[in-house]
Amino acid sequence: MRSHVWRPLFVALAVVGLILIARAFVVPPDFGVYERGFMYGYHRRSNEKEWEQFKVKYRGKQYCMDCHPDKYESNMSSKHKVIQCENCHGPAIDHPEDPPKLTVDRSRKLCLRCHTKLPYPSSLRGKLKGINPEEHNPDMECSTCHNPHKPDMEGWS
């Protein structure tokens, strides 16, 4: 083994050693093979927790009801009860602390998401009440005539 022939091999082994040492410092200690095996479960365990702690922004209708019971009641007695408050009002996040005020989307485009008439058989869209946006009062806001919380009654009450 004292032959010079082995010297390049020693250099190679030294490099491998360096990589292994670097590896011990760089790779997080919880990096490993978990439930789904090496093919699908090779990862850093703590990343699962990081994703689980991601901030929730859409809080749901119940969250809105706590402070706005009147709006909730009125909405729940109409056909629009299926629509989440936050679909139009934007995500609550930590409202009323942050943000203190939500930006409401009052645009025609918002209503047209469902109410542009698209005559599609075999799709629920074909059965929804709809208009042709170019013909139906094109320059007016929908909310001028329709109450978005309670669309059954024309106009505001």
Partner: protein
């Protein structure tokens, strides 16, 4: 405002029905990457033809192509670094390799292969290193001191250059060159596997892909080595002819290109070209004959959108024309150079048609994507994944070879 950048949006033109997240994510650098590893593999195989199979006619070519393949090898991961969204994290491939991924093999195969090539160079030039280290001893000047340090380090402390030791070296070189061939083929075959194993891509998924890649790799490697050899030798001859003070080498020492050598090497080139072309044709015929679900869209890409790229540029200009040029008797240097350039262009187009062509159609099989390669960059992304980035990668091995050749003279050491 955070820096929002949609990768691929700038150079992708979408047509008909595509999914919203589809873009040309793998662009010019992924064309360059298999091109470079292909050149590495090819250059090494060429040098091994002499060392292992004793093809004496390739002796001079072997030394040059060995050092050149090392220069190519160092440059080969650069396209990947340019392509990665987080290049600094690329080293993770060594730290947490996920071996079910074809790319993770890169770390191990690349390291093994570069060690083999480096060791082989060491054994070939060991005598020279020792001689230089001894000759520079006690010489004045910073340059000499630096060079002496480099050569001393390169000897790895082994100063035994007796007949017996050199004989041992020869044996080891033979072994390394022999082991290197399968590793070189593996290095490039796995580059083909990276594409061939993507089941989501109808154009890429074929078991023939690694074999096709190896064949075209050897073709490109041989062609580039021949071309570089011719250019360097002719330039040296030209410089000595025009120089008034030929103080370093004489015209006899350089001798220019040996046409016999070029003709013999081109025979190997033709052989591998036939193999590559046959396999590609087989793949095409098989796809058309079996005509599975994806064939409709593939046909519209192969015979429609990419017709010029595939049949005129790749097969016509890149395969058939140089084939004829090389086969016609009494090849001249000039004709060979033209043929070699065309061969290299053909291999580049083959990589292009695989990488870009594979993304030319949508996963919906009902839409297309077109790659508008960025020419003038206006940000770092359009530089890296544009014409300039590719050119930079293209000239990198030549720059490296120039540097290596200062230390390891592969062209004048007879």
């Amino acid at each position: 405002m955070e820096d929002v950048y949609v990768h691929g949006l700038e150079w992708t033109v979408k047509e008909l029905f595509t999914y919203p997240n589809e873009f040309i994510y793998w662009s010019i650098q992924i064309v360059m990457y298999p091109l470079m590893t292909g050149l590495v593999a090819g250059a090494f195989v060429l040098s091994s033809l002499y060392h292992v199979f004793g093809q004496k006619d390739l002796k001079d070519m072997a030394k040059f192509s060995l050092v050149f393949s090392f220069a190519l090898l160092i440059a080969a991961p650069m396209p990947l670094m340019f392509h990665l969204q987080h290049p600094l994290r690329g080293v993770e491939v060594f730290f947490t390799p996920h071996f079910t991924s074809a790319i993770s093999a890169f770390g191990i195969v690349f390291f093994t292969y570069s060690m083999i090539v480096a060791s082989e160079i060491w054994f070939v030039y060991r005598k020279y290193f020792v001689e230089q280290a001894l000759a520079l001893k006690g010489k004045e000047g910073l340059r000499n001191a630096v060079m002496r340090c480099i050569y001393r380090a390169l000897t790895l402390g082994a100063y035994d250059i007796s007949e017996k030791a050199l004989e041992k070296d020869e044996k080891v070189i033979k072994v390394l060159a022999g082991v290197g061939i399968p590793v070189a083929c593996f290095l490039h075959g796995y580059a083909g596997f990276i594409f061939g194993s993507v089941k989501a891509n109808a154009l890429w998924m074929t078991p023939l892909m690694p074999v096709i890649f190896i064949m075209s790799a050897i073709v490109s490697g041989i062609a580039l080595c021949m071309l570089t050899y011719i250019v360097i030798m002719e330039w040296k001859k030209f410089r000595i002819k025009t120089s008034r003070r030929p103080w370093e080498v004489t015209a006899e020492e350089v001798g220019g290109v040996e046409i016999d050598l070029v003709r013999k090497t081109s025979k190997y080139l033709i052989g591998f070209m036939i193999a590559a072309f046959t396999l590609e044709l087989l793949d095409l015929v098989f796809r058309g004959y079996t005509a599975v679900k994806s064939w409709d869209i593939l046909r519209s890409v192969i015979y429609g959108k990419d017709f010029t790229n595939i049949f005129i540029l790749q097969y016509g200009l890149g395969n058939i024309l140089p084939f004829i040029l090389l086969l016609l008797p009494r090849a001249s240097i000039r004709r060979t150079v033209l043929a070699l350039c065309l061969v290299l262009f053909g291999v580049f187009m083959m990589r292009w048609n695989v990488v870009i062509g594979g993304q030319a159609f949508s996963l919906t099989f009902a839409g297309y994507m077109h790659y508008n390669i960025p020419i003038l960059p206006h940000n770092i992304e359009t530089f890296k994944e544009g014409v300039l980035g590719a050119l930079l990668i293209g000239i990198m091995p030549f720059g490296l070879f120039w540097v290596f050749n200062r230390v390891v003279p592969s062209l004048k050491y007879k």
